[in-house]
Amino acid sequence: MKQGLHPVVMIMLVAAAVLFGRLLPTWTLSLATIAASNALIALGIVILARTGNVSFGQGLFYAAGGYGVALIANAWGITDALVQMLIGAICAGLLGLVIGPLLARYTGIFFGMLTLALSMVLYGALVKTTALGGSDGFNIGRPTLFGMNFTDTREADFMLYAVSVVTTGLAGVSATILFRSELGLASLAVRENNLRVEYLGISSSRVITINFAIAALFAGASGAFALMAQRHIDPQFAYWTTSGEFVFVAVLAGYQSVAAVFVASLALELVRSFSNLYLPNTWQLVLGVFLLGVILFLPRGIGSLWIRQRRKGVEAASVRPVRVQTEPVQ
């Protein structure tokens, strides 16, 4: 595979993005935090999608991370943003390791449906659990960092922005490394034909499980960020439309570039907040039209705007069999 950006360049880009946050007005800061956290979970979906499986239930891990953090942080009095993020990632990652092997047998639509089903099971359970606030959820306190308390709202927002951008940036760098690794290439092979991969002596379900657990890990961290940004959690985290939005970001980004995921996530948040502002009752409609437009005019996602022909060789190998023309010849 052709080389993209060097990881060191990426880390510098991340640092630049963090410093850029000092210049942003307050309202964009929280928007960018949510965008970064959504990019993180969408990145997980992209990683998993490289094995050919699209998860429509990342809300499961998003909620698992969020609720895990909220409960553990409340019980032990942990307020540190980094620790909370790690707790979220670990909770969801462990769950992913348990569920992954069970789901690895399924492909395509069934994989998507099963993940969706599991997230809806969690949703159903959370709504009925009065100890966790039922459908209203509950609140948690403001996060701190390294023992520092942020009383100024802007400083607190910036801290969260910085932590989420750095985390997502590092996740992006590790994803790029992963894509170029043996496992990453094996994932592409599993997407093409899992049976042949098995013949070559690689366990395709192992490949899927590892990717699945990584996606879950990212989703858990993302859930922790969403929790810290809103300081509130409710079962909506696990609802299927929440998961749908993450898949939306992944599709918007296309499956070829890590940077595109960030751009797509930011674009979605901008569209959402502007349509919230000007068309408060029809933002879903705007979102739907936007999604249709992207699928129609940018079939390879936003990433195809700047990655045009670079991976031609790889694409040629992965072209699917063309479906027949559906009109009979007269």
């Binding site: 639509i109 099971v121 409609l285 039209v289 999604l291 559906t326 009979p328």
Partner: protein, 298 residues
């Protein structure tokens, strides 16, 4: 014993309308290979249109039976038109793309329809209860049931039989089955696959909106209706096997009974029960109960 009977009857009543929704979903998947997320929105659309028809008729102080008929006719007309327009105007552009892409297209349609119904009918609950008293109350084994609910059972069975008969015993149905089995072969035999696609999708939408209309008198129409229904019907078709009519029937009965049982015994676990059944079925039959084994590409 009575308690058990209540659960079974409630479950079957639930199953009757769920079956009609799921039948549409499974047919659309069978023919077009699209898992239609917007299917629940068509259900909601049917319910809302029915409410408008019923309240309009009631405003002119006509009999509830007129309202019932008006609701069925208006829903049938609008439902099939919407389906036809969507397939020809939108879905057609995405054929040949990945299954997941088509799923996202229907997700976009779901988002759009969700807001459109809110724009047209508002966010407050709407009721259309007039036809609900149409068939009076019936005594059954010492239990009192609303006649309308019990009428749904034969109606749904009849729809199921008609679809089965249409598919398996008529020429048109055979052509549709041919497209389901092998689209390329059908094209080369001269089948106008485009036309089959359009009709199948319109029919799927018609079934969903009809189910919406039939349940409209029983429920209150409000936002969120569509996403609840799609979640249930997904479970049904996955249990039964995507694309199978018999599967939709068995899946609907299982889900209906599970819902009724958990409502009576363990209300906290309603959604949980349904997906537990689904996960259980998929553990042993990954393709659902009624799906034929297909050859694996090597």
């Amino acid at each position: 014993m009575n308690f058990f009977l209540t659960i079974v009857l409630d479950g079957l009543i639930q199953a009757s309308w769920l079956f009609i929704v799921a039948l549409g979903l499974t047919l659309v998947f069978g023919v077009l290979k699209i898992l239609n997320i917007a299917h629940g929105s068509f259900y909601a659309l049917g319910a809302y249109i029915a409410a408008t028809a019923v309240t309009t008729v009631a405003a002119h102080s006509l009999a509830p039976s007129v309202g019932f008929i008006a609701m069925l006719i208006s829903v049938a007309l609008i439902g099939s038109t919407v389906g036809l327009l969507l397939e020809r105007g939108l879905l057609k552009m995405f054929y040949g793309r990945d299954e997941v892409v088509l799923l996202l297209v229907t997700y976009a349609v779901f988002l759009i329809l969700e807001d459109l119904t809110k724009l047209i009918w508002g966010v407050n609950p709407i009721y259309a209860t007039q036809p609900y008293e149409l068939f009076g109350n019936l005594e059954f084994a010492g239990l009192s049931y609303v006649g309308y609910d019990l009428v749904l059972l034969p109606v749904s069975a009849a729809i199921g039989f008609l679809v089965w008969f249409g598919l398996n015993r008529t020429i048109t149905g055979k052509i549709v089955l041919a497209v389901i089995h092998n689209e390329e072969m059908s094209v080369s035999m001269g089948v106008r696959v485009n036309r089959v696609y359009a009709v199948a999708f319109a029919f799927g939408v018609l079934l969903a909106s009809l189910a919406g209309a039939l349940t409209a008198p029983k429920i209150s129409m409000q936002p969120g209706l569509s996403s609840d229904v799609i979640i249930l019907s997904f479970a049904i078709v996955v249990i039964g096997g995507l694309g199978s009519v018999e599967g939709a029937a068995v899946g609907a009965i299982l889900v209906g009974l599970a819902r009724a049982a958990s409502v009576h015994l363990l209300p906290q676990a309603e959604l949980f029960m349904i997906y537990l059944i689904m996960a259980g079925v998929l553990m042993f039959r990954p393709e659902g109960l009624f799906k034929r084994e297909t050859a694996r590409r090597i």
